[in-house]
Symmetry: C2
Subunit: 331 residues, 2 copies
């Protein structure tokens, strides 16, 4: 293994978030379950958008947020993800590059529009996501730039990619290339319902091709079909070299073989919108991990990055996270 061009390469669905505050009853009235991620078609997207109030648009996408976070923390980040060559695609590309992320996936010249996630934020700061995948359906193995994968210390991918066969193949190809080049692979389980849809193949993947798994409490319990967190913890510690389990305000647990590290959450004066908490936690952890920090140090960076992103609307950092972490003595 030679030197690396990138600390972290992130692969995921390239999405622009359309965020609006809604009252509690809006979510139930539209048959939605609070806190969930729903895949929707174009007609449903139009219906929901028409029903939503005034919104703001911010670049998003789970792994996209993570790449932006790694870059904001001063790490070398790259990203693969598909937009269309349209106005929202231009916004997504601008925001990635403006954050310093290497992003060269060619936009689709035709086909569906750039993906949007209609995110409803209820008064309790919880988010309910409704994602129209649009141009993401054009992301395939052809978009996996072998050289970039080979030159990244960690290739990190979102479980959401599993929802489309072509994206799943691209994910698996990237994992093979990374492993073949002596690099490390990482996945976030993304969402408990995503885990339900793909449990068996996620388990197979984690057991054979993944070095670092990220999951929250619900997701890891869903993976092993148990309500017992301890049981799920023991299982993932056997199945994967490193597991990072986030538990919202309870902090996180990092497991490596017999090692168990419990790290408290970084304090937040006011939680405004929890969108992107997991994505930014992964960013902080991977930034620390790839720069030689210990597991607890890396997890602390994750907590700090997550705390920043939930203190405002939108899932991309609003401050220079590297300077912030430096001021806290973490970088």
């Amino acid at each position: 293994m030679t030197g690396s061009d990138f600390d972290v390469l992130c692969i995921g669905n390239a999405i622009v978030d359309v965020i609006a505050r809604v009252e509690e009853d809006f979510v139930s009235r539209h048959g939605l379950v609070k806190g969930s991620m729903n895949l929707i078609d174009e007609a449903r997207a139009e219906y929901l958008y028409a029903a939503m109030g005034q919104a703001i648009e911010v670049s998003g996408g789970s792994a996209g947020n993570t790449a932006a976070g790694v870059a904001s923390l001063g790490g070398k980040a790259a990203y693969f993800g598909k937009v269309k060559d349209d106005q929202l695609g231009a916004i997504f590309r601008h925001d990635m590059r403006a954050q310093g992320v290497a992003y060269d996936t060619p936009p689709a010249p035709d086909g569906p529009a750039t993906a949007r996630s209609f995110i409803l934020v209820t008064p309790d700061s919880e988010r309910t996501m409704n994602t129209y995948l649009g141009a993401c359906v054009n992301f395939t193995s052809k978009d996996v730039d072998r050289k970039a994968v080979e030159s990244a210390q960690v290739t990190y991918m979102e479980g959401y990619l599993w929802d489309r066969p072509e994206a799943k193949e691209a994910f698996k190809l990237a994992a093979r290339i990374a492993r073949g080049a002596g690099r490390q692979t990482s996945i976030t389980l993304s969402d408990s319902f995503c885990v339900e849809r793909h449990r068996e193949s996620f388990l197979d993947l984690i057991r054979h091709d993944i070095d670092i798994v990220f999951a929250n409490e619900t997701e890891i319990k869903s993976l092993y079909q148990t309500q017992n967190f301890d049981g799920a913890m023991k299982a993932i510690a056997k199945d994967c070299p490193v597991a990072v389990l986030t538990r919202s305000e309870k902090g996180c647990i990092v497991l490596r073989g017999e090692e168990v590290h419990a790290i408290p959450a970084h304090p937040v004066s006011k939680v405004v919108d929890v969108t992107g908490a997991g994505d930014l936690f992964a960013a902080g952890f991977l930034r620390g991990f790839t720069s030689g920090k210990t597991l607890p140090e890396a997890a602390r960076l994750g907590s700090v990055a997550a705390a920043e992103v939930i203190s405002h609307v939108g899932a991309r950092p609003e401050i220079n996270l590297g300077a912030h972490a430096h001021a806290l003595g973490l970088l």
Copy 2:
């Protein structure tokens, strides 16, 4: 004069704001003057956008913000302004209608893209605007819906329209229709450099065709080419039936003939982004004015609406201003 369908009809440049925080030196490095509004061409727009960091997109436009504010305050608002039939145009139209504003100006099927204003917010919360007018160049007298103007208590227009001859003609036509129907007309001077560009014709308009003028301290001083606020105050009181002069944290002065009312600013715990302060002040004032409130009561509504919009990023209200004003006993 019969009953009115609309309390306030607003006419202006339909713009999507692209907002990014920048460091102090970004503004000077790009040859900009802090706090100004600069009209830019497409090449300059691309150059500035490439230089800017991660941004968020929010519907804006001065009179558009005012219309949204009137509607949020429970008033019946209408809007005329031109977007293109593109993704940003769809966002602008959605946000207007989602706020309850009657907005039926047909989007341009071709020609330049929907207008964007690249807004740079410095650490002192001041905003520097760079506006690419795009599809606004297609706004003409044909877009003035006579029936809507005739049925609005007040037709409110932004001085920015004066920067394009066709839009200026549309403005004058709307003013003539409103006056002919026994309705009232109103203008915001928009920006002191806009006043400089159009001083003589603004004065002529105000003296003959306008019932309510909105201006901040700099703008009214520029209009009368004086550094003396008292002098400018006396002049505008002679030239226009009602003048509303805003002075940021010093509150505002409302003049009607011999009447002079000084109203303090509504307290703000933290100023985040001053974009839209004047627009929302006008919204609150006009909502009060058209519902029969006294001038000081109307000005207080203006202060409350302005205070809300400067406490967050973006120039559209994030809360239900009507409920907020009601809780404060103002509506």
